[in-house]
Chain length 455, copies 2
């Protein structure tokens, strides 16, 4: 759904002059366009891919750089070296987030924070995380080369353990910053290692983990460049997506109980087949989610049958129902419809169906002014763009609790991600980094509103 | 569906006089009724349950007496002692089947073979197998006590490894008798032990396994008493079931291929959800099987999702479709309907669905004359009965390839089997053994037809 800049402006109506309190305002003039070094960015992405590369493999074979692993530790060491080369002053905060700071002209100004992560899923790709992190460093490097000093200090961040493969919960570094770690989290054990010790391994200070907190209102803005991980931009042939927000996610654990019985000796009318009931529920979720307009998605991704033998009528099925949309109200309404259908299915199949919400992640809306800064940067560069939502979670959703947040998406070829086949063209990587650079400069020139962060 | 004896006779029309070649014939008179010792039968069932009983448990806690296990070996030792006490002469054949022989008046006559098995599934019950084996011994014991010598020799058999928990394929002893072992079967390894060595452990002679074969036409008849393992008799309040046959079983392996994708970033119209397609197939199997009259059953008992994560659209589902009925033609027709629906579902969901028949077990029909002998025995005892099919497999299906076969079912309370909660009332156990005794005496008085075995 490509939008001209005019249409985009009409659809957001977020511009205002600085004399109006509570909103961003544009300065009268824009500087000459500055561009990042595309060849250097590519070189850095290719070099980082070697940390966690399959033995004997190439860049095309993807990467396994799970958070806290030795490969992650080594890759982060490379990131620190790149930060120093870019003129940043890297440090580890208590959660082991790597923060590379660059001073601004106004020593009292709040920092502009931007970056991503460098950990991966097992057999993952080389763009999900690394692009945003290394492009942020590239932006700082370019500014140094051009002798540009911003008003606000800049902080380029590589967040710790975004994917959450280790310990089963992700966004670890950004949750520490947003004060969203859960009770006992540092005592979790994975592969025999306490999470506190894993954080210490990476250079963090788990004994003073609250030092990683960032107070709400303490940053000027947060911006993250990331691959889309879906196919919207690629199919539309658009190089840039401006994220409206990161969807809310409701997850339900569902237990269908029937009666396990001999598949040969139990006549059809006497069965209480938990899998037959579960199958109807899988279809009901699909029908309900696709039954109204909108971009909501609903997925039954995990389903397990007990006893799971060819000659036994299934007695128990456990499955997950996951619903995503920017609107929490829509998610609640869809869940209500699923629950009602589950009741009908249970009655019709003489089973019981329990549906319990196991997790709820709130939506994080991008700040209109940050979105507008990204749109202006793309316009200045003559790059087409569209607005879209992020169906995947990102560190940015935690930063939205601290200050105005925005995200820039670049196309994932074929919509493929979390796979060695994950790809973004080098041209699109460079376009994304150029838009990031222009956006940072635009945000730097904005006066900060007195309003609360948008979330 | 209880039938009076009259209705049963009308429905089978299997009676004839001995002057008609190729059929059984009744003698003119029946002897006085002889009854088994119900208390002794119960005592033996309770005693056998101690071999493989859970530590510290009682009879109610069921049994784990997997074929070839130490518990199986010990339980079989008890069976040998009971056979000797009953006046039988036990021996092990090459497949380790225990065969207790009792001479008949006619030294040239073919033996009447009857019995069952004593191995169990893990956490199984104390009636599936033991009832038929120990009731057969009890019949021989009763005949000895009453000084009754049959015309035909009697052979009471405890078949080896009926359940097939070990090595994954059951009916081992009866398949050896019917020359139905598969190539290389004795070289299979389970828990580090070759099947040949497991057979040797139980007293068999795997180096001469073909000695266990019984030539087609070499037995007068085979009869097996067994618990129903379904709920038909229990719900109808009938103590005896006369088995029409053991159903044919066709099993299909089904592979549904879609595309695994991110559950947040993949819009609903772009998905190729293998689980959504599989769910429709589960329902289609149910609709097709229940869509016409008859006792056919169809089951999707095993279903496995890949990658099976809450936040990933399923890319692959493997499932089994099992169809059972006495008619192989009906099974083939139902499978054709399933295959056609699978094609429609694949097209509608943009997936591919492969359906491959992985195994086929032929139906085994009971010989009408043996069924009639059982019906007459029940009538003589004043015990009600009905005809039914066996949805489960039994050693009897192999013996049907050697000679005229029949089975007697007694009720499983609540239809429960393969569970510690498997129960048959002691009264029904005794009724079943009495009917078995009368049936053996009736079969003994029948003249053997020149016809081939019914199968």
């Amino acid at each position: 759904m490509p939008l001209s800049r005019r249409a985009f402006l009409l659809s957001t109506a977020s511009l205002a002059v600085s004399s109006v309190p509570g909103v961003w305002a544009w300065p009268a003039a824009t500087p000459d366009l500055v561009r990042i070094n595309a060849a250097r960015l590519r070189e850095h992405i290719e070099k980082l891919s070697e940390f966690g590369r399959p033995s004997g493999g190439t860049f095309a074979d993807g990467v396994t750089r799970v958070g806290y692993s030795d490969a992650d530790l080594a890759g982060r060491g490379y990131v620190v070296r790149l930060m120093k080369a870019a003129g940043l002053e890297p440090r580890f905060d208590a959660a082991a987030n790597i923060i590379g700071r660059r001073a601004g002209r106004d020593t009292a100004a709040k920092p502009i924070v931007f970056g991503s992560h460098v950990d991966s899923v097992p057999s993952g790709g080389n763009f999900d995380g690394p692009l945003g992190t290394l492009a942020a460093i590239e932006v700082a490097h370019t500014l140094s080369e051009h002798g540009i000093v911003t008003v606000h200090p800049l902080e380029v961040v590589a967040w710790t353990n975004e994917e959450g493969v280790a310990y089963g919960n992700g966004l670890c570094g950004s949750r520490a910053a947003a004060d969203e770690l859960v009770a006992g989290e540092l005592d979790q054990v994975w592969n025999g290692v306490r999470k506190a010790d894993a954080i210490r391994k990476l250079g963090g200070d788990p004994d003073h983990i609250t030092d990683a907190r960032r107070a709400p209102g303490s940053i000027h803005a947060y911006l993250e460049l990331h691959v889309e991980q879906g196919g919207v931009l690629d199919r539309a042939g658009l190089p840039i997506g401006i994220v409206e927000g990161i969807v809310a996610i409701d997850r339900y654990e569902c237990v269908v109980r029937g009666t396990a019985n001999h598949a040969g000796t139990t006549p059809m009318p006497d069965r209480q087949d938990a899998l037959l009931a579960a199958s109807r529920l899988v279809q009901a979720v699909n029908e309900i989610v696709t039954g109204e307009p909108g971009r909501q998605v609903g997925t039954v991704g995990r389903l397990e049958v007990t006893p799971n033998a060819p000659n036994v009528v299934p007695g128990l099925v456990r499955l997950t129902v996951e619903l995503r949309d920017l609107s929490a109200e829509k998610l609640a309404r869809l869940a209500g419809l699923v629950r009602a259908r589950a009741g009908q299915i249970a009655a019709a199949t003489r089973t019981t169906i329990e549906l319990t919400r196991s997790s709820h992640h709130e939506a994080a809306l991008a700040a209109p002014a940050v979105r507008e800064a990204v749109a202006k940067s793309a316009d200045d560069l003559g790059i087409a763009y569209a607005s879209l939502q992020s169906g995947a979670g990102h560190d940015a959703q935690m930063l939205a609790r601290i200050g105005p947040m925005g995200m820039i998406f670049v196309p994932s070829i074929g919509g493929i991600s979390h796979s060695p086949r994950e790809r973004t063209s080098w041209e699109d990587c460079a376009r994304g980094a150029d838009v990031l650079l222009g956006s940072i400069l635009g945000i730097d020139r904005m006066s900060m509103s007195a309003a609360s962060p948008v979330s």
